[in-house]
C-alpha cells in the first residue's frame, strides 16, 4: 500500500509534503481529510514557511510513545527563542496539535517566569498603553496580588 501524501501551503506560498497518516496528528487536518478527502493543497494562511517547516519536522518525528514526551520537550528546548515559540504555538493552535502547543507554551512560561513586567512586555512585545498614574491605579486595585 502506498502512503498517501498531503501538501500543505504556508502563508508565503511554499509547499510542504507530508504523509497523510502523520499529518492527521493535527485535528484540523484530520477533519479536513474526513470531510473532503483533502486531495488538493491545504492552505495555512497564518503559518509562515519557517514555522511550517518546524511543524512538519515535529509531525515527522519517529519516536516510541514512551520517549515522545522527552522528544517534544527537547524539540521546543532547541527553539528557545520566544518569538519562534509563539509562532509555533500559534501554528499548533491553528492546526490543533495540542501536545505541541502545550510544550511551546510551557517553554515560554518557563522563560518568562522570573521576568519583571517590563521584561515580559519586551519579550511578548506588548505596548504599555497606560500612563504611570494609570499603572499605579491598577497595582493598587490588585494590591493583594503584588
Amino acid at each position: 500500500m502506498s502512503k498517501k501524501t498531503l501538501t500543505l501551503m504556508s502563508k508565503d506560498k511554499q509547499l510542504f509534503n507530508i504523509e497523510e497518516h502523520l499529518a492527521v496528528q493535527s485535528v484540523t487536518i484530520r477533519n479536513m481529510v474526513k470531510e473532503d478527502g483533502a486531495s488538493s493543497v491545504i492552505p495555512l494562511p497564518r503559518v509562515d514557511s519557517e514555522t511550517l517547516a518546524l511543524v512538519i519536522e515535529y509531525l515527522n518525528r519517529q519516536q516510541a510513545p514512551e520517549e515522545d514526551e522527552d522528544y517534544v520537550k527537547k524539540f521546543v528546548d532547541e527553539r528557545g527563542e520566544i518569538p519562534t515559540l509563539l509562532e509555533l504555538a500559534q501554528a499548533a493552535l491553528d492546526l490543533d496539535i495540542k501536545k505541541l502547543m502545550d510544550a511551546a507554551c510551557m517553554k515560554v512560561a518557563d522563560l518568562i517566569k522570573d521576568f519583571t513586567l517590563e521584561e515580559v512586555r519586551e519579550a511578548l512585545r506588548i505596548e504599555n498603553d497606560r500612563t504611570p498614574e494609570e499603572e499605579k491605579a491598577i497595582r493598587d486595585e490588585f494590591q493583594w496580588a503584588f
Binding site: 532547541e78 527553539r79 500559534q90 512560561a109 511578548l124 512585545r125 506588548i126 490588585f142 496580588a145
Partner: protein, 479 residues
C-alpha cells in the same frame, strides 16, 4: 548437526558496574551457530535452536554516543541557522511583530496555565487589554509559599476568586501548600468549593510537610463532585503517617483517574473497620496509581471499580504487611506492582485476569509458603518480572498470547529462605517474540544455576529474539 557443549560457564568481570557494561549475548539458529547449545530433541523440537530469525545484538555504546553527538551538532547548527532567519524577520517584518503582539487568548491562557495565579494576576498591569485576561483563565495554580504569611495568602485567595469571571468554567486547579490542617481547612474549602461549583475536571492538591508528626486530613468537602475526572492528592515529603483520606465516603461519579501519593488509606473515622469497600461511588474509575500509600491497618483492601483498566501500586509503606487485595480485575488491562509482598490471596487475583495485557512485577516478593504462583491471562502480551525479592517455587503461566517477556532470572541478592531462581511452568508460549533475560552478577555458586537456565531456555523455544543480559557467556564445545 548437533553440538553438545561440555560446559557452560558464566562469569562476571566484577570490576565494572552492570549497567555500564552489558554484553547482549545471543543464541544462533542451529545452521548458523558457531558455537553450540545443548539440544534436547523433544516431540515439538523444543529446543532453543528452533528459534527463528534470531538476531545478534551488540550494544555498542561508543557508536551510540557518536550518533548522539552528531545529532546534537545538527540541532545546534539548525538553531543557529534559525537565529539568522529570525533576525531577518525581526528587522524587516513589521506585520509579523504586530501579530505577535496580538496573541490569542488561548495561547496566553495556555502560557499562564503553567504559572502561578499570582503571577497571572500581575499581568493585568502589562497593558489595558491584559487587565482582564487572567479573569477567564481555566487553570488555577495556587501556592501559599509565594506569600510571606498565611493571612496574606488567605486574603489573596478570597480576592482572586471573587474577581474571577464566574461565567467561565474552571478546568484544572492545582493547589500546593505547606502548613497544618487547621490553618488551611477554611482556605482549602473555599478553593475546592469554588472549583466544584465551576465544574472542575482536574484537581491536584500537593501538601508539603511542615511537621511529620500528625496526619494531614483533607476536609470532607473535597470528596464529592459531579464533574471531577482526575484527582491527585499528594504529600510532598515522606513522613511517618502520610496524609489521611476518608476514602469510603467518596462520591465522584465522573472520576476516571486517581493518583495518591504518601496517603494512608483508611475509613477516615478511625472506627477500625478493616474490611471496607473503597470507591463504590466512583463507578467510572479507570486509572488508579497508589504511590507509597499505607494500607497497614486494613485486613482486606477491597476495591470496587468495575471499569478499572490501569492499576499501579508502587512502594507501599509497610510493604511487609500484607492486606489481602480484594479487587475486581475483570476490566484490568495494565497492572504494575512494585516492591510489594504478594500473599496467597493477592496472588490468586492474577489467576483470572481476562483482559490483562501488560503485567509488571518489580521488586516483589512472591513466595508466601505456597507452591505455585499462577498467572492466567489469556490476553497478556507483555510480562515483566524484574528485581524479584523472592521467587515462588514455580510460576505457572497460562498466557497463550504473550509476545514480550522480560525477566530477571535470579534474585538480586541471595536469600537462604526462599527461591532464588526463576522456575517457569507454561502451557506453551507460542506467540512469544522477544525475550529479555537478565541475570544479576551477585550470584552465589553460579554453576548450580546453569541447568536451571538451560531448562528455562527450553520453555522459550518459540522466541524470535532472545537477549541475554549476562556479563559474558563462554561456551566450551565438546564432541
Amino acid at each position: 548437526m548437533e553440538i553438545q557443549i561440555e560446559m557452560l560457564r558464566l562469569y562476571f568481570p566484577g570490576a565494572r558496574n552492570f549497567s555500564s557494561y552489558e554484553t547482549n549475548c545471543c543464541l544462533y539458529p542451529r545452521n548458523r551457530a558457531p558455537q553450540g547449545i545443548p539440544v534436547k530433541e523433544g516431540p515439538r523440537a523444543s529446543s532453543i535452536s528452533s528459534c527463528t530469525d534470531m538476531h545478534y545484538q551488540i550494544s555498542d555504546s561508543s557508536n551510540a554516543k557518536q550518533d548522539r553527538s552528531i545529532n546534537n551538532k545538527r540541532g545546534a547548527s539548525r538553531s543557529e541557522q534559525m537565529d539568522v532567519v529570525h533576525d531577518d524577520r525581526e528587522s524587516i517584518n513589521e506585520e509579523e511583530e504586530d501579530r505577535i503582539s496580538k496573541l490569542p487568548d488561548d495561547i496566553v491562557h495556555c502560557i499562564l496555565s503553567f504559572l502561578d495565579i499570582r503571577y497571572a494576576i500581575q499581568t493585568s498591569a502589562l497593558s489595558k487589554k491584559w487587565k482582564h485576561v487572567w479573569t477567564s483563565m481555566p487553570h488555577l495554580n495556587l501556592n501559599n509559599r509565594t506569600f510571606d504569611t498565611f493571612p496574606q495568602f488567605s486574603k489573596f485567595v478570597k480576592h482572586a476568586l471573587s474577581h474571577r469571571n464566574h461565567h467561565r468554567e474552571v478546568y484544572a486547579v492545582k493547589l500546593s501548600f505547606a502548613g497544618t490542617t487547621t490553618k488551611f481547612a477554611t482556605v482549602m474549602r473555599r478553593i475546592v468549593n469554588y472549583a466544584y461549583a465551576h465544574n472542575v475536571r482536574h484537581l491536584t492538591m500537593i501538601w508539603s510537610n511542615s511537621d511529620g508528626l500528625y496526619h494531614r486530613k483533607f476536609p470532607q468537602c473535597c470528596f464529592s463532585s459531579l464533574t471531577l475526572k482526575h484527582l491527585t492528592l499528594a504529600i510532598d515529603k515522606i513522613c511517618r503517617y502520610g496524609g489521611c483520606v476518608p476514602i469510603p465516603s467518596w462520591d465522584f461519579p465522573a472520576l476516571e483517574t486517581l493518583n495518591l501519593r504518601n496517603m494512608q488509606l483508611s475509613d477516615g473515622r478511625g472506627t477500625g473497620d478493616k474490611s471496607l469497600t473503597f470507591f463504590s461511588k466512583c463507578v467510572n474509575l479507570k486509572h488508579i496509581t497508589l504511590h507509597k500509600c499505607s494500607m497497614n491497618h486494613l485486613d482486606v483492601f477491597n476495591v470496587c471499580a468495575p471499569q478499572l483498566s490501569y492499576l499501579t501500586i508502587e512502594d507501599p509503606i509497610d510493604g511487609g504487611y500484607k492486606p489481602n487485595l480484594a479487587w475486581d480485575f475483570q476490566a484490568l488491562e495494565t497492572l504494575k506492582l512494585s516492591n510489594m509482598q504478594l500473599n496467597y490471596v493477592s496472588c490468586h487475583l492474577l489467576s483470572n485476569c481476562v483482559n490483562l495485557k501488560d503485567l509488571t512485577l518489580h521488586g516483589c516478593s512472591m513466595y508466601d509458603g505456597m507452591d505455585a504462583f499462577n498467572i492466567c491471562a489469556p490476553q497478556l502480551s507483555n510480562l515483566t518480572i524484574t528485581h524479584p525479592y523472592v521467587f515462588p517455587k514455580v510460576f505457572n503461566v497460562v498466557v497463550p498470547q504473550l509476545k514480550n517477556l522480560t525477566a530477571s532470572v535470579n534474585t538480586t541478592t541471595y536469600r537462604y529462605h526462599g527461591i532464588n531462581f526463576l522456575q517457569l511452568s507454561t502451557e506453551g508460549l507460542n506467540s512469544l517474540e522477544k525475550v529479555n533475560l537478565h541475570m544479576s552478577r551477585s550470584m552465589h555458586e553460579l554453576e548450580i544455576y546453569v541447568p536451571q537456565l538451560l531448562n528455562l531456555f527450553q520453555k522459550l523455544y518459540s522466541a524470535k529474539f532472545l537477549i541475554l543480559d549476562l556479563y559474558i557467556i563462554q561456551i566450551r564445545q565438546g564432541q
